[in-house]
């Protein structure tokens, strides 16, 4: 199994505070990897580093065999690293369809490359089935700013998939969703194409266990443990860390 993403010795400091201190992470093609840990463990910082919005003081990030450490979020997205934000990030004045079209444009392959409008038409063809898959067909022509929170989350997932990702970074996707919406979210994430690797940051451990096949636990900016969900569930170290973190 090849390492799709390999982060080595990642360190991020904010003044005297070490948000991340020599963290290693390897994600394989199609893997469902979860990142958990007490508050302040460095999960979101690590996601920011992998997504390109935070540059680490030390360490390397390789994606698909290439060093992407100096690339920003846009360049990483074009290589296939897409992110879903803690608060759904959509374009509020654009319709749901237009949102998906905009997200699809950078990576879409038009039938005729130099034909005027070909790229947009190809993106438009992608949008319909994706909105249908997310159950958003009825609101396809509605500006995204008018959608409910759960619908925006579904729209953001459609946008991420429209970018033909190879790695999806999910930052607490269940935040602010109702129980029914969480159930729908789990179904959507379980139905993601197997070719798409996922790195999930989530506080709700029931979701972590339902969606991931590998779990990495962070604490105080360092890797505390890594293993299968069963191994993590029964690890005394992890239990202790959470007990301390919550206390």
């Amino acid at each position: 199994m090849t390492g799709l993403l390999e982060a080595q010795e990642i360190s991020v400091r904010y003044g005297s505070l070490a948000a991340l201190d020599g963290v290693d992470l390897r994600i394989h093609d199609g893997q469902r990897h979860a990142l958990i840990g007490p508050n302040g463990a460095g999960k979101t910082t690590l996601l920011n580093v992998l997504g390109g919005s935070t540059r680490p003081q030390r360490g390397t990030v390789r994606f698909d065999g290439r060093d992407v450490g100096r690339l920003g979020p846009a360049a990483r997205a074009r290589r296939g690293i897409n992110r879903i934000h803690q608060r759904p990030a959509v374009f509020p004045t654009l319709t749901a369809t237009e949102n998906v079209v905009v997200a699809a444009l950078p990576r879409v392959i038009p039938r005729r490359r130099w034909w005027p409008g070909g790229r947009r038409r190809a993106a438009q063809r992608l949008a319909g089935p994706l909105l249908d898959q997310m159950g958003l067909t009825a609101v396809a022509a509605v500006p995204a700013g008018h959608l409910a929170h759960g619908q925006r989350r579904q729209l953001e997932i459609a946008m991420a998939l429209a970018g033909r990702p190879r790695l999806l970074l999910l930052d607490e996707p269940a935040a602010g969703l109702s129980a029914i919406e969480v159930g729908r979210l789990v179904e959507l994430l379980q139905a993601l194409p197997r070719a798409v690797a996922v790195l999930l940051v989530e506080h709700r451990l029931d979701l972590v266990y339902a969606l991931s096949d590998t779990v990495t636990v962070l604490r105080d900016g360092q890797t505390l443990a890594a293993g299968t969900p069963d191994e993590i569930r029964t690890s005394p170290l992890v239990r202790q860390a959470y007990a301390d973190g919550v206390a």
């Binding site: 846009a74 004045t93 266990y209």
Partner: protein, 339 residues
């Protein structure tokens, strides 16, 4: 259904305005016709301001710079090279686009009020250059005696105010149509998305700076083309045509018309220029005061008109998403861990 009705009403009003503009030269006197032709030129600059302010989210006070570049390029070509309108128009648009391209590095990486300051400085610098480069621009005296334009090769020169006005109207209608088509393309969609949330657009893999550069250059070309219409309308130009008051009036007109609307920008800019010229006769010396009051009233009474421009009026690098802020309180359920 309601949207359809609104669209039809708007279309009807636009058609009526267009008919009114076409018949105007036969209804009003020659002086008013020449004022209308000049107003059309400024309204077209207003469209370029709207393209940057409302669509691309870059509020600008510097569109007089490509406007001036286009006007002077047209005047020089018209006096020394060719009196053919199409040639002058292309040269003017190219000059405006070139000046905009040269200023791209200064503008596209800045945001909000900083863009306003930079573009204001560019506009003022251009006016100073125009005043001092006497061998080409005629200095503060400007360039006079520019020959009347002929639209195409083989056509007669436009000798009357009516003919020059109709030429300006045809060019404005064509260019506004082209801008409207452009806004319906992929480029327009991406620009609107960037205005909504630039960081989100970047996260989708778009080269935001490239899109903004394209918008800046396209807006420069439109303003440059408007410059050639000013030359056609006045047959005389001087640096006074491109001062700060013109920039401020254009931004005011676009804000009144609605920053994200090309039609609104046309109407708003035309309205403001008409009010200025009308007030010039009714309240000599007090026109700026009335326009200032109009600006304040617009900002307070029509907040949605300025909201879209305000979207980018935030400090550079301000966090756009919660994920870039400190993590939310830990909601981990310890019981889940022990299941």
């Amino acid at each position: 259904m309601r949207g359809e009705v609104i669209r039809r009403v708007r279309g009807g009003i636009a058609a009526l305005v267009l008919v009114g503009l076409v018949v105007a030269p036969w209804v009003v006197d020659d002086y008013t016709t020449s004022i209308l032709a000049r107003t059309l030129a400024l309204a077209l600059v207003g469209v370029s301001v709207a393209l940057l302010t409302g669509v691309a989210g870059m509020p600008t006070l510097g569109q007089t710079a490509p406007y001036a570049a286009g006007a002077y390029a047209c005047a020089v070509v018209g006096s020394r090279v060719s009196d053919v309108g199409v040639v002058q128009l292309v040269v003017a648009a190219a000059a405006g686009a070139l000046l905009a391209a040269l200023t791209v590095p200064l503008v596209v990486h800045a945001r909000g009020v900083i863009v306003l300051m930079i573009t204001l400085a560019i506009g003022e610098l251009v006016v100073i250059v125009l005043g001092r480069w006497r061998s080409v621009t005629g200095g503060t005296d400007g360039l006079a005696g520019i020959p009347a334009v002929r639209p195409f090769w083989g056509l007669p020169a436009l000798a009357s105010d009516q003919a020059r006005y109709l030429y300006a109207l045809a060019v404005v209608a064509t260019l506004v149509g082209a801008v409207l088509v452009l806004l319906r393309t992929r480029a327009g969609l991406v620009l609107r998305a960037g205005r909504d949330d630039e960081m989100r657009l970047r996260a989708s893999g778009h080269r935001v700076a490239l899109h903004l550069s394209g918008a800046h250059i396209a807006a420069g070309a439109v303003a440059g083309a408007a410059g050639s219409l000013l030359v056609v309308a006045q047959q005389y130009i001087s640096p006074a045509d491109f001062g700060f008051d013109t920039s401020a009036l254009l931004l005011l007109g676009v804000v009144i018309g609605g920053t994200a609307s090309v039609g609104g920008a046309l109407v708003g800019a035309a309205l403001v220029i008409a009010v200025r010229d009308w007030l010039f006769g009714v309240l000599p010396g007090h026109a700026p005061l009335v326009l200032g009051a109009l600006f304040v009233a617009t900002v307070y009474l029509l907040p949605t008109g300025v909201n879209r421009a305000r979207g980018r009026l935030r400090p550079p690098n301000a966090p756009a998403h919660q994920s870039d802020q400190p993590a939310a309180p830990d909601q981990t359920n310890v019981a889940e861990l022990h299941r």
